[in-house]
């Protein structure tokens, strides 16, 4: 579903992503761990074709994202670290707008409220302008937008930042449900706990390299924090 082939990105000579090879199948939740600047966001930006690779290719459903920039975006939904919305529009209007642009123009008000319910956004907030929302609420609107897009893959860049533990837990449950339906997920995160809780695989990145991958069978009984810190020390 999501595939990186020798994916490389340099910024002014500095390697931001070094020869990444990664394949995420439908139903998998791949969590990318790593310090700031390790290349997690760069990876996601490359999959979204926001930046052009210096080598290798990012593929979605076997289509190179640089050659099929519009088509490949139809299959994925993206949640950034800080979901940004149109502050003069209500939460529901934002959801409606982004859904319509994603090609879903037939949702009813009830459908939208249902999406808000699924992400734990109170229904009385739906008709308030987004300028009154907290960061966590905006993040939930972002999740609802991704949900409404009904995508086959999710590209998540620290999606739970700003969410309280309960909302974070609900988000984990939501992700598991979606992966159960065959959605492939690539999630960059700092949250070891969340990674262990919902990830089917975990990758550790350092200086643009994927230095370790922990498979689905080991993940349950690995001390993730210890492994992570060991890699960071080297």
């Amino acid at each position: 579903m999501l595939e990186a082939l020798n994916l490389t990105k340099r910024y002014n000579g500095t390697v931001a992503l070094d020869d990444l090879n990664l394949k995420i199948e439908p139903g998998e939740i791949f969590c990318l761990l790593g310090a700031n600047g390790a290349g997690k966001t760069t990876t996601i930006n490359l999959f979204l074709n926001f930046i052009a690779p210096d080598g290798g290719a990012a593929k979605i459903k076997n289509l190179d994202v640089t050659q099929h920039p519009l088509e490949t975006k139809k299959f994925v939904a993206y949640i950034p670290e800080q979901v940004m919305l149109y502050k003069n529009l209500t939460g529901l209007e934002n959801l409606e707008y982004f859904s319509a642009l994603a090609g879903h123009e037939n949702y009813s008000r009830k459908d939208f409220l249902n999406f808000f319910g699924q992400v734990g956004l109170p229904s009385d907030a739906a008709d308030k302008r987004v300028s009154t929302y907290s960061k966590g609420m905006r993040q939930k609107v972002g999740i609802a937008i991704a949900l409404a897009k009904n995508a086959e893959a999710l590209l998540l860049d620290e999606p739970t930042s700003g969410l309280d533990p309960k909302a974070g837990n609900e988000f984990s449950e939501l992700l598991k449900r979606m992966s159960g339906n065959g959605v492939a997920v690539l999630m960059a995160t700092h949250d070891l706990f969340r990674a262990k809780e919902c990830g089917t695989r975990v990758g550790i990145m350092k200086h643009g390299k994927l230095v370790a991958t922990i498979g689905a069978e080991e993940i349950g009984h690995t001390d993730l924090e210890r492994v992570y810190l060991e890699h960071m020390r080297e």
Binding site: L48, F50, V76, L101
Partner: protein
């Protein structure tokens, strides 16, 4: 998808309190400008009609008088206010409103309204054309500068692009959203202006005026579309909305203030206009080389005498069955006309060259192009002034000829002691200006309309390209 984007842009703009304020003030200015312009046009019309009537009455009340004295006494041709002059005063302030039609001389127009104005009034009047040319572009810039740059700064552009929205649809949707907000200001103003037009009775036919009004509105729409395309292109291209706003305001300053000023200085330097005194002394020089109807002693007059005596087969002027002074006057008149035609067409050719030199500047200033089109359609530009001056001159020649012929026929040997019957004055037709057709105006303005069209096409192309290559952050 495009309509969804347009609707959202419009909603966002409309919910912005700043927009409602600015748009409200601008709409008010447009309405006030339309009404004051209309009142002024009505007053001008009444004034000129009254002046023409008085002139006619004075003419008719001359009593017994020598026809040539009457020709010197003269008539005035008043330029009627053009139907659309309430929209655009154009060069009216700088061009005279009347031409004195007298024997021997083709006069320049006189009574320039600017001569009666204070320095402050010279700075500019609140007219529809001024508001449309200078202020509406500012509103467009304010509505569109952040279209892409603002979304990039706020981070919404990432999410928008991640959805797989084609950039051209995005650009078109944004353009339509801004256009819809703009329509809130422009539609009421257009409706009022159209109602006022219907209430304005001028000599022109309403159908012709309505066609001009529609063409005028279309030309302004082209101008606004060019500004909008440019604003979106800059917004997509530059990094921050701050830079976008500053660049666009810089463009506005150059297009509206700097370029027109420099263009007219440049045109004047390239093709300097003669001073009025120089113009007349060149004409007088030519006149002295020809015959003078008042002076039967010069060379040409002798030739004319010999020719006329031979024609009627008599030996002395007193034996002629016609009055020779009348013939000599008309002959002098026609000789003078050739000189006037030569000098006036030179002057108009010079103005034409100046206009051509100025047109180059409309490559960087669409305002120059729309200003010319607007004046042209309103009938307040130099082209229509020439059109008026030429009709007035043709009328002058007709009157003078009629009077000279009366003298030739009836003065016998009395020459200047002959007094014509007052009935003669009423044989002189009143001057009625017939304004040119829309096709004539469009022919004059073809270059400017083409430039406006190119501005539109070029900015739309650049905006679409810039949106396609846009970076998300």
């Amino acid at each position: 998808m495009t309509t969804t984007i347009a609707k959202k842009e419009f909603t966002e703009i409309f919910r912005d309190g700043r927009f409602r304020w600015i748009a409200g003030v601008l709409l008010l200015m447009l309405l006030v400008a339309a009404i004051t312009g209309w009142n002024q046009a009505q007053e001008t019309k009444a004034e000129r009609e009254a002046a023409a009537k008085m002139d006619e009455q004075t003419w008719l009340a001359q009593g017994n008088k020598n026809p040539h004295s009457a020709a010197h006494f003269g008539h005035s041709a008043f330029k009627p206010a053009a139907a659309l002059s309430y929209v655009d005063q154009g060069l009216n302030a700088y061009l005279g409103v009347a031409i004195w039609l007298e024997a021997h001389y083709q006069n320049l127009s006189s009574h320039r309204p600017i001569e009666d104005k204070t320095a402050l009034q010279r700075f500019g009047e609140l007219t529809l054309a001024w508001t449309l040319q200078y202020l509406v572009p500012l509103l467009i810039i304010l509505l569109a500068f952040s279209a892409f740059a603002g979304e990039r700064e706020r981070g919404t552009l990432r999410q928008l692009v991640s959805l797989g929205v084609p950039s051209r649809k995005l650009a078109l949707g944004k353009a339509l959203g801004v256009a819809a907000a703009l329509a809130l200001v422009l539609i009421p103003a257009t409706i009022l202006a159209a109602v006022l037009l219907a209430g304005l009775r001028t000599g022109e036919s309403f159908g012709e005026a309505a066609l001009r009004f529609i063409t005028l509105s279309g030309s302004y729409l082209l101008y606004f579309a060019a500004i909008l395309g440019l604003s979106l292109a800059v917004s997509a291209k530059v990094k921050s909305s701050r830079v976008a706003l500053l660049s666009l305001l810089g463009f506005w300053l150059i297009s509206s203030l700097l370029a027109p000023r420099l263009a007219s200085d440049f045109a004047e330097r390239l093709h300097p206009s003669p001073a009025v005194s120089e113009f007349w002394s060149a004409i007088n020089k030519d006149m002295q080389e020809g015959i003078d109807g008042h002076n039967p002693s010069d060379e040409r007059n002798k030739q004319l005498q010999a020719k006329i005596l031979a024609q009627y087969n008599v030996k002395e002027l007193k034996d002629l069955p016609v009055n020779f002074a009348g013939i000599a006057l008309q002959e002098g008149e026609e000789y003078g006309n050739q000189i006037f035609d030569k000098h006036h067409s030179r002057l108009w050719a010079l103005y034409g060259k100046q206009a051509g030199a100025q047109q180059f500047a409309s490559v960087i200033s669409p305002l120059l192009a729309v200003r010319n089109v607007s004046m042209g359609l309103a009938g307040t530009d130099l082209y229509q002034h020439r059109h008026f001056a030429e009709q007035a001159e043709a009328h002058r020649r007709k009157i003078v000829k009629l009077l000279n012929e009366d003298m030739t026929r009836n003065a016998g040997t009395q020459d200047y002691n002959y007094l014509a019957d007052p009935a003669l004055w009423s044989k002189v037709p009143q001057f009625e200006y017939a304004p040119p057709s829309l096709g004539w105006v469009l022919g004059n303005q073809f270059g400017n309309l083409l430039i406006l069209g190119l501005w539109c096409a070029a900015t739309a192309f650049i905006a679409a390209r810039a949106a396609g290559k846009m970076r998300v952050d």
